[in-house]
C-alpha cells in the first residue's frame, strides 16, 4: 500500500472548459461543472444542448472527441483512460437507450461486471444480491436469465440500469434521461431506487428534460446547459423557475437566441 491519504473530501467529478466534437461538429463548447461525491446534481436543458454528449464523453465513448479542456475524477484526468478504466475507478453511466446484447444473460453480464470490479462473488451470493435488487425495482427474478436488454420494454431497460447502479455501487453515477419514457409508477420506482443508493459515498448527476423526477429525488444543485455549455447553476429553486418560465429567459440572459435552438422550451411544456 502506498500512502495513507484518502482524499475523499475532495473526490469530485471536475469538468473544466470541456470542448467536444462529433464527426467534426462542435457539440460541447467549454463546459464547466463540478459534482462532488455525496451530492446529487441535476443537469437540465433543451434538446440538443449537449447533455448526453457530456455523459458519453465523461465515460469515454470513442465517438466523442475532446478538443479542449479537461475532465477529472479524484484530481486525476480521465481523458487518457479507456471507458472500462473509468468505470473501474468508480464511474457509471445509465444510458438513455441501453444496449441489448443478445445471448448474454443479465446474470452473466453482471457477474462479468462485478468480476471486473474485483468483486468475484460466489454464485449463491451473486444470485441473492441480484434477486434483491431486482425486487427493489419491482422486476421479476425471471429477468436474471433473460438476455440483457434484449426484448425489454423501454421502462424495463431503464429499471435494469438502476439495478446495475445498485449492484455496482459506483462513486459517481450519471443518469442520462433515465426518467424519459417512464409512466408515473415506473418513475417513482426508479426514483426510489436512486434514493436508496444515494448517500455520502455516491455522487449522482441526473440529466433530465423534466422536473418530474426531481420531485422525487431532491437535487443539491441544479445546472442548465445550452449550446454546449453550462449557462446557469443554482439550487432547487432553479427547477421551479424553469417550470414557470421555460428556458427562454435563461437563454436570453446567456446571450443565446432561443428560436435557434431545436426543442428549446420543451421541458417546461412537458
Amino acid at each position: 500500500m502506498t500512502g495513507t491519504l484518502t482524499p475523499v473530501a475532495t473526490e469530485a467529478l471536475e469538468i473544466e472548459g470541456l470542448a467536444v466534437e462529433v464527426d467534426g461538429t462542435r457539440i460541447l463548447d467549454g463546459v464547466d461543472l463540478r459534482v462532488p461525491r455525496g451530492e446529487v446534481h441535476a443537469l437540465m436543458g433543451p434538446n440538443g444542448s449537449g447533455k448526453s454528449t457530456l455523459a458519453y464523453t465523461v465515460l469515454g465513448h470513442p465517438k466523442y472527441r475532446v478538443v479542449a479542456g479537461d475532465c477529472r475524477w479524484g484530481g486525476i484526468s480521465l481523458l487518457a483512460q479507456t471507458p472500462d478504466e473509468r468505470a473501474r475507478r468508480g464511474l457509471f453511466l445509465s444510458l438513455q437507450y441501453p444496449t441489448a446484447i443478445p445471448g448474454v444473460s443479465v446474470v452473466n453480464f453482471l457477474r462479468a461486471a462485478l468480476k471486473a470490479h474485483g468483486r468475484d462473488l460466489p454464485a449463491r451470493e451473486l444470485l441473492m444480491t441480484l434477486r434483491r435488487e431486482l425486487e427493489a425495482l419491482k422486476m421479476d427474478s425471471a429477468f436474471l436469465s433473460r438476455y440483457i436488454n434484449d426484448g425489454f420494454s423501454g421502462g424495463e431497460k431503464k429499471r435494469m440500469e438502476i439495478v446495475q447502479l445498485a449492484v455496482l455501487r459506483p462513486a459517481l453515477a450519471i443518469l442520462d434521461e433515465t426518467d424519459s419514457g417512464l409512466d408515473v409508477d415506473a418513475l417513482r420506482t426508479v426514483a426510489e431506487g436512486v434514493n436508496r443508493v444515494r448517500g455520502a459515498d455516491m455522487g449522482i448527476l441526473i440529466i433530465t428534460h423534466y422536473q418530474r423526477i426531481l420531485d422525487y429525488v431532491t437535487p443539491d444543485r441544479v445546472h442548465v446547459m445550452a449550446a454546449g455549455r453550462v449557462i446557469a447553476s443554482g439550487g432547487r429553486e432553479l427547477v421551479d423557475r424553469i417550470e414557470r418560465e421555460g428556458y427562454d429567459r435563461l437563454l436570453q440572459a446567456a446571450g443565446l437566441e432561443p428560436s435557434r435552438l431545436e426543442g428549446a422550451g420543451s421541458a417546461a411544456s412537458a
Binding site: 465515460l59 469515454g60 465513448h61 470513442p62 479507456t82 471507458p83 472500462d84 468505470a87 473501474r88 457509471f92 453511466l93 444510458l95 441501453p98 444496449t99 446484447i101 443478445p102 445471448g103 448474454v104 452473466n108 453480464f109 462479468a112 461486471a113 471486473a116 470490479h117 438476455y147 446495475q164 455496482l168
Partner: protein
Amino acid sequence: MTTIAPPDPRTAVTPLRPPWAEPDTVTRLRAAGAAAAGTLGWPSSTVGEDWRRTAQIDRFDPGRFRQPDASPTGDRDRASSGLLEMARSAGLASGADHVLADDAGGHLIVAAGWAEPFAIAAARDPGALDRLGTVLAPTARPLVAHNSARFAAGTLVRARAGEPPQTIHLVHIARAGQAAWPRTLVELEPGASLTLVEEWLSADGTGPGLIAPVSELVVGAGARLRHVLVHRGDPQLVTLASSRAVVDRDGAYEVGWVLVGGSWSKIQLDVDLRGPGASARLRGCGLARGTQHLDLQTTQAHDAPATDSDLLHRTVVRDRARSVYGGLIRVAVGAQKTNAYVQNRNLLLSPTAKADSNPTLEILANDVRCTHGATAGPVDPEQLFYCESRGIEREAARELVVGGFLADVLDALPLSGLRSAAVDWVAATLAAPGASRDG
C-alpha cells in the same frame, strides 16, 4: 479432329474389398460408387454452384493420401490404446451412454456400451445393410460416390420404439498421411428416439490428411433423432463430409454442429422431409481462424405437406479465415402448408476475415411460408462500449459479446456435457494466438 482430354486420374476408383464377407448389396454399392466416381467426374469450382467458392477442390487429390488396408472390425484389442483413449475422453465430455470410434483402417472400437460394425451386422443378418446407399445414392455427388466405393469403417445404429432412449458418441478418427472414408447408417424405426454425436478428430500428432465421411440417417414415422456434428480435427485435416436425413410422417430431426477444426472443409448437410408433419431443426456454428476455410452447404427439402424446417448457421471468422455458406430450401409441388426458414449470421473479427452467404429458395408450392436471411459484420461497437461502461475490459467484453452471439446455437445442443464442452472449444478457439484485436 477432336482432342480428347485424358481422364482425370482422381475419378478412377477401385472398390475396396474388405477382408470380411460382405452381402451382395454392399458389393454392388461399392461397384456403383466406383462407376459413379467416373461418370460424375471430380468436383470443380468452375462447374455449377456447389464448389464455386471452394476452389481448393480443384487442386486436391485424395490419392496423395494412403488408404490403409481394412481390418476386421469390432475388435477392441486391435485398436491402439491411443484411439481408445481419444474415444473415451470424447465420450466423457459428452456423457453419452455408448462411445465408439472408427479410424481410417476401419477399426471400430467400442470404448463403452455397444455398437454394431457393418461386418458383424451383416454376418448376423445379410439384410441389415439393405438401406445403405438409399438415403445418399452413390450417384448423388462425387464424394458420396468415392465413399461408397472406398469406405472401410462402417457403423450401423438402430433404434426401436419402446427402448430406453440411447445416446451414442461416434468418433471418426483421421490419421496424418491417410484418407479416412467412414460410413454410418442410422435407422430409427417408427416411434424410436436416439441421440447421436459424430465427432471428427485427428490421431498421431499433426500432418495433412483427409476425412470424408458419409452418414445416412433414416428417421421413421413419429421417431425423433437428435444429431450433432463436431469437428475438432487437426489444422491440416481436409474434410469432405456428407450427411443426409430422411424423415417420415411426424418424425423429428434435430441437428446441431460445432465446427472448430480442420484446414479447409466442405460439409454438406441435407434433410428431406418426406412425410406430412415431419420437422427439422438445424442449428449450429462454425469458427474459422488463421487461414481456415469452412464451407457449409445445406438443403432443406420439403417433399410432403405440413412440414417445418428451421435452420440457423452462425459463424465467427477471425484472422484471414473464410466462411462460405450455401443454403437451399426446396419445396416440392404439393408440399403445401410448409414453413421453412434459413438464416446465416456471420461475425467478422478482423478486416481480413471473410464470409460469403448464399441462402436460396426454390418453391414450387403456393401455400407456404419461407424466409431466408444473411448478415455479416464486426462486433457492434455499442455493445462493446456498454460492457466497458460497466468496467469490463475490451477483450473480456469481446469474448462476452461473441459468446452471446453463439449462445442460442450452443444452448440448443443436446447433452449438458456436450454443451459445456462446446463452450470450452469455442473459448479456446477464440483465445488462440493470432486473435485479431482490431475487429
